[in-house]
Symmetry: C2
Subunit: 447 residues, 2 copies
């Protein structure tokens, strides 16, 4: 070790995709990290259930028990990459009790137990870093908590689940069906064998609840996130959206309004020219609107071994830089001083204002269109765009008598839309349910 270098001991818990990537990045990147920090960061112990063949463990202590790592006096920083919320919570709280600083990539843990963990850590003056929990390699936690520290953030919107974005991109670009692309995503390892967390939006909801908290200085409200996945999106809707100048993306959106905080994850039509609309494949991006900076966006790989390890190791370097600082001088866990975190109501989805894409199949277009228009108008909903096709253009799946009508509405309160849809579905000449997808024009929206 060169003159002036110090050594910091890392205890690595978990050696799966992200753990293995972190192990190897610390080994391969060591020279560059010393160039930046003048500190020698050394893995002193690894806990894993099975060895990872991609990692050379010959020079490191390996244990099967994560608590061995927590109790190892040579460990200064515990890196929690075991996933899940039960054992991970115990591990993290035990590490805090031992005075070890923490780095984690575990969004479920922070979204569900963050408040408890941060309170315990604050009492002991312990750092807890979680950049890797949100949008993988993208330093968006740092951007929001530090880069925009002078700003009042008013809303943010993100493509924060790579699997959903991969599926929607393939469906759009290659005209493939949802089930077909999902099966491929599973083969490629993007989606878990049980893909529910990804495609039902739960993973995105975990991340959104954390982003919302660090943006607005509110508690983490995972239980209040309105969550809708992508399973109902069809080729037909993607194609109509495109005809209207939109693309369908699975977004997490949080917005500060006078009546409360919007916190919602759902498929969304956004203008095809928007930056977010051009985020394709498994890539992630978070667009943030704040009063001084305006729109800023952060883009990159949202998952994967090396990209996530990049964020984990950057967090380790952050801990090394700040572990000796007075705790009150460090950036607070959620970006705001604990006593300044203000609980605000989360707006129920029925009270959220949004524009909508509606698709309805009608039997006799002339007469029904008049009825639909009347219902919308009676509910004070206006039609901003409309597609009506001749029956002959639509043969696939529909009988000639079924004609789709596609409508984009103005911005309205969801409760009004629910009422209008119920009335439309009660009409005699309607086939099946009304399809609805929310529409946002974020990049032009400076509210």
């Amino acid at each position: 070790m060169a003159k002036g270098e110090k050594s910091i001991g890392i205890g690595l818990c978990g050696l799966g995709t992200v753990g293995g990537g972190t192990f190897n990045l610390l080994a391969e990147g060591q020279k560059e990290i010393v160039r930046r920090t003048a500190v020698d960061i050394k893995i002193v112990q690894v806990a894993c259930l099975i060895d990872n063949p991609a990692c050379d463990l010959s020079h490191v202590k390996v244990t099967r028990d994560v608590f061995d790592v927590v109790n190892n006096p040579d460990v200064d920083i515990v890196v929690e990459l075991i996933g899940g919320t039960d054992l991970a919570r115990q591990l993290v709280l035990a590490a805090i009790a031992q005075g070890k600083h923490l780095v984690t990539a575990n969004k479920a843990l922070i979204a569900t137990h963050g408040d408890e963990i941060f309170a315990a850590a604050q009492q002991r003056g312990i750092m807890v870093c979680f950049e890797a929990a949100i949008a993988g390699a993208i330093p968006v936690v740092k951007a929001i908590r530090e880069g925009l520290a002078a700003d009042r953030i008013t809303w943010l919107a993100g493509i924060i689940n790579g699997t959903s974005n991969f599926i929607l991109t393939e469906m759009e670009e290659k005209h493939r069906d949802f089930d077909d692309v999902l099966a491929e995503a599973q083969r490629l390892g993007y989606a878990e064998a049980d893909p529910a967390f990804d495609i039902e939006g739960i993973d995105a909801a975990h991340k959104l609840s954390i982003l919302s908290s660090i943006a607005f200085g509110v508690p983490i409200n995972f239980d209040s996130v309105y969550t809708e996945g992508i399973a109902k999106i069809t080729q037909q809707d993607i194609s109509y959206a495109s005809e209207l100048g939109y693309r369908i993306k699975h977004l997490g959106i949080s917005r500060l309004t006078e009546d409360g905080i919007e916190l919602r994850v759902h498929p969304t039509l956004i203008p095809a020219k928007d930056m977010l609309a051009n985020v394709n494949g498994a890539m992630n991006a978070v667009l943030v609107h704040s009063d001084a900076a305006g729109n800023t966006m952060y883009y990159g790989a949202g998952a994967g071994s090396k990209p996530t390890a990049s964020a984990v190791v950057a967090d380790i370097i952050d801990v090394v830089r700040h572990m000796d600082s007075a705790p009150e001088k460090r950036t607070p866990y959620l970006g705001f001083q604990a006593e300044s975190i203000l609980d605000q109501d989360v707006l129920p989805i029925e009270k959220v204002r949004c524009a909508y894409y509606l698709r309805v199949e009608v039997l006799d277009k002339t007469g029904v269109m008049a009825s639909i228009s009347t219902i919308l108008s009676n509910n004070l909903i206006s039609i901003e765009a409309l597609i009506q096709k001749e029956a002959s253009e639509f043969l696939n799946g529909l009988t000639k008598a079924h004609v789709p009508i596609v409508i984009i509405t103005n911005r309205i309160v969801e409760a009004s839309l629910n009422k209008a849809i119920a009335e439309i579905e009660a009409l005699d000449d309607i086939n099946g349910e009304v399809t609805r997808i929310r529409v946002e024009a974020l990049e032009g929206d400076h509210g």
Copy 2:
């Protein structure tokens, strides 16, 4: 002041566009800043040549002499927003000598005197922050120095001059001419009365030299940046580029190669589907490729009063957080420890490898095309794409006998291209010079 809050004194030098924005943001954002930092950040003195009518100066000491601010014992942090390089350099060095920390938005100052300033500051344990100097509101300095601290960065490319991007966007979208859009940009205040810094690429070269330094850990090499502006870009080239699936953007590109560092600012054809290609108007974006994170991109407003003030005040908050830390624990000025900054050769432009867009007007297309092909082939240059139009399609400006030929080449060393172009221009049937624009497929390039 609430319990536990400390007060930090700011000396604000310069009250123009950015200075005025900073003054007002500190006033309006004070409550939110206290929520984040528990520190009361107060402007104790302002130096300006004329008062800014947008700022209420009634509760602050105002001086015409910036050195009054430097010598004011109540000032903890000097914020240099006077611009220029001579007085600004004296001011900054005097502040360092007085033990004041520094925040600046001055890219010309850092690009030309950064090494001297950082050396002086390091001796005194002084912080010097310059997030606002590059890409306005976008926290890209923080992203590179801290967010990607675990990564080896291999290249970066950015749209880092809003005026040039505004002009190119207007030319493309509205089919307007360069001079016409430039005049509007001047009316709108995007471009200075003397727009040379912007449209000749000097402003972008300042920023690129700093970005390259913090990405690779090399000295700031402003004098070695190859710099080309946008004045020669025509409607015709924008339209051919579009036909070939490209857009023309003014990029700053720096890349680490085995033979040295590429450091170049020039108009560039990039695939129309790339994220960078969709950065429009006065917006900026920096795309970074690193070994672990892969491609990450940072997007936002690159200039303007409030966006730049957002970065200035975020830097002030960073200083407040780290001014009491041990200097060796802080993120180094250029992201790397001073003794680890390695001087590397900057590759002369003749040695840079690039693909090229070539446009040449020929008198007799059949015969000349064969000659051109032979010249390219003899210089080991291959044709990746080609547009040849019938003479009758081209009447504007050209006589019927003049036919444009547009070629995209493979990636070749610039010296070979220079030789080929000289040979082509020596042909009898060529009208005028060969137009050349570099082509990069950055987002698919993981080298």
